[in-house]
Subunit: 130 residues, 2 copies
């Protein structure tokens, strides 16, 4: 699934560069982003606003990268399991997180792959709700 | 997402009762089942054959149930994160496993929800490949 891998790399770069319009081109119109447990952003407007807030929270120094990835394909739908690293220089301290994320991609009308579900918390979300 | 919860309960019962034709009614034609790391079953014929082998392996005593579930909805696609318990009386010993599974459901042509990706290993699949 090199095509999806390339899109995720492009998204990581767009987040690092705060190119949120470029980032939104890779999401479906009805996509969902898990901001944190019990806080979901639905649709491109909410997702873009959430990424702007996240960037501000990390003092505009957030750099996501991916480690090992697993792709589970079912026709026009793909589940990506990915080791995600989040690095930041927030508060002048090196800061890093290691997550096991789940992303669902769907093939769009122009055959391009689009992210429909963006959940960087993976299955850790189970039990995190209030 | 009570509708999907009910389907997963029906699937667990069908596995317990070894009603594999009934079980297959809940999968898409191009569904993928993760049998184990590096072993995928694609499509209903392969998935049904895999469930028959799994049932035999567990001496026809496999009973899956679900604990806490999280549903992430994006239009006609839903990612389910689920605490899955597998109990078995294989070899006359009580046997149990606790997994954090990921399932992707899609809305079918008759508005019914169908399982497209069935991965009981969740993000544990990362790093399990050879």
């Amino acid at each position: 699934m090199q095509a999806i891998k390339d899109i995720i790399t492009a998204c990581d770069l767009a987040i690092k560069n705060e190119d949120f319009d470029g980032l939104m081109a890779h999401y479906t119109d009805d996509a969902v982003l898990v901001v944190k447990a019990d806080m979901m952003a639905h649709g491109k407007d909410q997702i873009k606003a959430a990424f702007i807030k996240i960037a501000a929270y990390f003092r505009n120094s957030l750099t996501p990268t991916q480690g090992e990835m697993v792709f589970l394909e079912a026709g026009d739908t793909v589940l990506v399991l990915s080791q995600t690293f989040l690095a930041s220089a927030k508060d002048e301290q090196a800061y890093s997180m290691d997550r096991r994320a789940t992303y669902v991609f769907k093939r769009g009308a122009q055959e391009q792959w689009l992210c429909a579900i963006d959940n960087s918390y993976g299955t850790d979300l189970i039990g995190m709700s209030a």
